[in-house]
Each structure stands twice: as structure tokens, then as C-alpha cells.
Amino acid sequence: MGKFRKNKEKGTPQVTTAALPDIIFMLLFFFMVSTVMRTETLLVKISAPGATEVQKLEKKSLVSYINIGPPKQENLGSKARIQLNDSFARVSDVREFILAEREKLDEADRQFMTTALKIDQDTKMGIVTDVKQELRQVGAFKINYNTRQVAEINYY
């Protein structure tokens, strides 16, 4: 009997925390790898339309973004505006923007350049068509309509 009592008196051994830094480092590396640094601040409100047939946009470095939506700042009105990089732009600025973006890429990658259109769902197609025409003129044919993925579309 004495043998058993002796064991009990020892109490539970302390949990070793030596592995804690390793665990934290593991988490740290996970977040470091998966992080995409936010580079631009949105000046326009965008709530993307929902769609079921979405594809993932691969190779983010080859993607340039065009944002279209009503300005966040209310005194600028509610008409949809175009945002390129960090400022508002006109339709005629799209060409220069695409050329500049194309210049940044390697020659071999230029043909794979994709233009992602992030457009608010309440925008009228007029401005979208104008931008698309500009993209056609400048030869940026690959586009992606940014959408949310939804399980089902409700028809009305």
C-alpha cells in the first residue's frame, strides 16, 4: 500500500511548455505564407454580385484590378466612378493604367495578364461597357468579373 501512496503524493507533473514557441512559430509561418498585404484602399463601395459558376483567380501577380462603384465619400455623389490604383479615374485613363501594369510584368507573362473587374452590383452597364471597350482597344482581352460565390441564385 505504501508504494501507491508515495506516487500520489508527487502530484501531477508540470506540463512542459518547451514546445510552445514551436507551435506559435508554426502558426506564424502559416499566416506569413497565406497573408496578402492590402495595398490599396477602396474609395468606392463595392458589393459584388452573387454567382454560382465561379472560378478562382490564380496567379495574383498577373492580375490588375479595376474597381467601379459609387464613392464611399458621400459628398461625391452616388454615381458610379472608376478607381484605379489609389485614385478616381476616368474611362480614358484605363488605357494608360493597363499599359503601365503590363510594363511591370515579365515579357513572357504579359499574355497571361488578367484584368479583374470589381464592380458594384447596382452599377449600370454603360460605364462597364465603356471600360470593356477600352480594354479591347488596348489588348487586355482576358477579364474576370469579380463575384461572390453563392450556393443558389434566386430568380425573380
Binding site: L28, P49, T52, L57, K124, K132, N144
Partner: protein
């Protein structure tokens, strides 16, 4: 000679790592961009004549500024669009008013009848982007379902489950996604 270097205390390692971890947690944006990918046509050549396409090979969709659909000249519903497009491309009974097919020899599939049908999509300037995406989504869904059916029939699995590049290419060739966006006209602002 060598003095004993005192061991560095590693106890604060976890704290430093925590600090970095919290920084990355806060700055991380996890959203993966998703969307519908399309290819724009090259700008029209003013000298070139418009291609001669038979009327039976064209399926026209018009979306007006009130987000109403006109499908082949008749008012249509979005919910029926998918099946209509599928029927148009498949033309299961070889009807006279639905598109022609041409037989093509495709690797891994053999002799396949490829539809000559083209979907023509046109919108007004006043059409809402939401409606436009809904229509694009239905068209994408129709073509995806057609590809799924063919892939199931030929390879026993869905299109997106195909792993061999050759198979995917063969299916893409048998069912080309022919969506043409008409030259815009400035109406309905």
C-alpha cells in the same frame, strides 16, 4: 582559454513569436478572388466584313434597361435561360431551326458532332450589372452542364473532376464556349 558563453534564455521566444503572429493575424486578408472569367473579342477591323453566320446558328439574348430579357425576339425568363441554351447547343432532334453541327475527329473522343451555335449577348447602357452577371452566370452554367454531361458519358466523371489535361482539352474542343458580346450601341441610358 575559451570562456564559457552563458546560455541565452529562450523563454521569451514564445512572446516574440506571439507578437509577430498577432501582427500577421491582423494584417491578413484571406479572401480569395473569385469570378467569372471571359475573353473579350479583339476590336473590330473596320475593313473586314462582318462574318456571315446563318440565323439558325445564333441565339440572341437582349437585356434591356429594365433588366427584362428578350430571347430570340420573345420575352423570356431568366429561370428558363439555362435549359434553352442547352437545348440550343445540343439540338438533340436535329431540328431545322436549331444550329448546325459538324462532325469532328477529336483525340480521346473520336467522332463528335460539334455545334456551330453562337450565343449573342447584348445589353443596354441602363442594364444593371447584377442582371448582366446573372445572365452570364446562367450561360456559364449551361456550358458547364453540357461539359459535365459529355465528360460523364465519355470518362465517367464530371468535367471539373477530370485530372488529365488531354481530357479537359478534348472536352473543351467538343463544346466550345461560344458567347459573343455584340458591339455596344448607346441606347437606354
Amino acid at each position: 582559454m575559451a570562456r564559457k558563453v552563458p546560455e541565452i534564455n529562450g523563454g521569451s521566444m514564445a512572446d516574440i513569436a506571439f507578437l509577430l503572429l498577432i501582427f500577421f493575424l491582423v494584417t491578413t486578408t484571406m479572401d480569395i478572388d473569385k469570378g467569372i472569367t471571359r475573353r473579350l473579342p479583339p476590336p473590330p477591323d473596320p475593313n473586314a466584313e462582318p462574318p456571315d453566320i446563318k440565323e439558325r446558328n445564333i441565339f440572341t439574348i437582349l437585356v434591356n434597361k429594365n433588366d427584362r430579357l428578350l430571347i430570340n425576339g420573345e420575352p423570356g425568363q431568366l429561370r428558363n435561360l439555362r435549359s434553352e441554351v442547352k437545348n440550343f447547343i445540343k439540338n438533340p432532334y436535329n431540328q431545322e431551326d436549331l444550329p448546325e453541327k459538324k462532325m469532328e475527329q477529336i483525340e480521346y473522343l473520336g467522332e463528335v458532332s460539334v455545334s456551330k451555335g453562337i450565343i449573342s449577348l447584348k445589353n443596354d447602357r441602363g442594364t444593371s450589372y447584377d442582371m448582366y452577371i446573372r445572365v452570364q452566370n446562367e450561360l456559364a452554367a449551361a456550358f458547364r452542364e453540357l461539359k459535365d454531361e459529355l465528360a460523364k458519358q465519355e470518362f465517367g466523371m464530371k468535367y471539373e473532376e477530370l485530372s488529365r489535361k488531354e481530357y479537359i482539352k478534348a472536352i473543351d474542343k467538343a463544346i466550345p464556349v461560344a458567347i459573343s458580346e455584340a458591339e455596344p450601341e448607346n441606347v437606354g441610358d
